[in-house]
Amino acid sequence: MTRLLLHRLGGLLTTLLLSSVLIFGSLYLAPGSPENVLFGSRMPSAAARVAVRHRLHLDQPLPVRYWDWLTGVLHGDLGTSMVTGQPVADRISAGLGTTLLLVLMTMVLVVVLGLGLGLAAAVRPGRVDGAVSAFTSVSVSVPPFVASTLLISVFAIRMGWFPASGVGQGLGGKIDALVLPACALAVISCGFLARVTRNAVREELAREHVQTSLVRGLPRLVVLRGHVLRNALPPIITAIGLLTAGTFASTLVVESAFAVPGIGQLTIQSVAQKDFPVVQAVALLLVAAFVVCNAASDLIQALVDPRLRTAGSTS
């Protein structure tokens, strides 16, 4: 178990390091120098350009700049926004809470609905299963941005139950404003999780050891919970991990749709403004979220299924 943990942690750090090199390198090799963003349409004098390049450390070779940036990141210094002049860390921390709350609300919805629907379909073949299958087929084809517009037009504009954009004051106002975005994010993931759950539970229900439990006189609920669901967990956990990671990526879209001031909207804004230090930091953060979600799901799986523990590397 410890070996698996270390192995996973190593893989996680490697991926993060590689993607940081990739992100940093590619952004600074981009056509058009970063300092042009500062000058906008003005044509600076050569001296001014040199001065700015020096201030931004652009006159140093790339590996040196990368090293400076990396040590900065490790000390919590993510650089300075080229557009607002604020520290990048401040801009990110302003939106991080909102985004995390949004992802959390989404995943609660996904897990409750997806697991519930999938379980219902698995233990009730026939009509319930058919209805759930039909629902999931459609829901996995509804992208968050289409769901957003549907929800806005019905629940924000027609009914006026929830705000169509922005977030309110305090935690209550935040949660109120994030209900629709969370629903928009949850639609597609719900369908996926319901599907995965149904298939996993179906497969496990057909296993011989379930018969052993039944023939020992254990109550059906105990068998379902302790043997069927428990054993069906690994694929379900993988799915939840992947879907959480995917939700982080989808906040780019949904936060823009609902004008939610989170990391996703910040990313899209910074991309539009070519605010490279912010883009870099945010992209790395999203990659980190993605990688951590996947690694976490692997580790939880190993906790659930002892056979994976001794197997060591699973990849």
Partner: protein
């Protein structure tokens, strides 16, 4: 011909056939948009702004009086072209890589697998957004980024299927007979796994469509005046004023197209149709021989069954 059509529809099932027909219609409309569209998709007439369905505009007009039906028809072109490019490029890159990896195994396989893992760790949407940050918004950078992001998705499937083929006796037999790598890989292995690859490519097409539409919605891929489904959905002005048709119509089209692609893809690659669509038909021995290669007609017939 008729007989062939019947077996095809039998194999695809009701939902699969309906999906195929729907996709065909969308494709034809996209190709013939200049002939079919009732109006120029970009012609504005402010007098018609936000008019509902009428004889002049069958689906109404948007905020600057452009004909929605025509925009939907022309929008099908960009909306389908993007994902087609993405899937095409990632297949062109992915299949040779996957065949090489599965044929040679060892370190070639390990390196390819590692690279795939790394790309897999980056969400396609994020990769596309970063690329746009570098090269500016547009369909080309978005397609390029997504092509890279989709390589592992398709290549992993090809690699797994091809590896299963690689160890089957007939490949050894062909090797012994002196056939080369290329001949065996393309002529036999690829042919045998074709249904799986085509099916998964259709599914990937659907996801790529979603991703590209999302990017266009964000203003990062197809640019505003160009008719495109994703761009049309981003018309928040119409939405906030309560005119839902200009926004919901393209949204529904996106959902239906992706739904049709996933249903058809699953059917082609030989997944069982969902229970509620399956009518059992029992002919002879239904057991699938263990040695049947992935997605051979033999297996497909036994697992897909007939759906009326």
């Amino acid at each position: 011909m008729r007989e062939k059509l019947r077996t095809t529809t039998g194999r695809l099932g009701l939902a699969g056939t309906a999906s195929a027909v729907f996709l065909l219609v969308v494709l034809l409309i996209a190709l013939a948009a200049p002939l079919l569209a009732p109006a120029d998709p970009n012609r504005q007439s402010l007098l018609d702004a936000y008019t509902g369905p009428s004889a002049a505009h069958l689906l109404g007009a948007d905020g600057i009086g452009r004909d929605i039906l025509s925009r939907l028809m022309f929008g099908a072109r960009t909306s389908l072209l993007g994902p087609a490019l993405v899937v095409g490029v990632s297949l062109l890159v992915g299949i040779p890589l996957a065949l090489l990896a599965s044929w040679y195994g060892g370190w070639v396989d390990a390196v390819v697998a590692r690279v795939f893992d790394l790309i897999y760790a980056l969400p396609g949407l994020l990769l596309a957004v970063l690329t746009v940050a570098l090269f500016g918004p547009g369909l080309t950078p978005a397609v390029a980024a997504l092509s890279i992001a989709y390589v592992p998705f398709l290549a992993r499937i090809v690699r797994a299927a091809a590896r299963q083929q690689r160890v089957s006796p007939y490949v050894d037999a062909l090797s012994v007979q002196g056939f080369g790598v290329l001949r065996i890989s393309v002529g036999h292995v690829l042919r045998n796994i074709a249904p799986t690859v085509v099916g998964q490519a259709a599914i990937a097409f659907g996801y790529a469509l979603l991703d590209l539409a999302s990017l266009s919605y964000l203003g990062l891929a197809v640019q505003a005046p160009t008719p495109d489904w994703g761009v049309m959905v981003s018309d928040t002005d119409a939405l906030l004023k309560g005119y839902w048709l200009p926004v919901i119509a393209p949204g529904v089209l996106i959902v239906l197209t992706v739904l049709a692609l996933t249903v058809l893809g699953a059917r082609i690659s030989g997944e069982k149709p969902p229970r509620y669509l399956r009518r059992a038909k029992r002919t002879g021995d239904r057991r699938v021989p263990n040695t049947a290669p992935v997605g051979t007609p033999n297996q497909k017939e036994t697992t897909v069954g007939a759906v009326g």
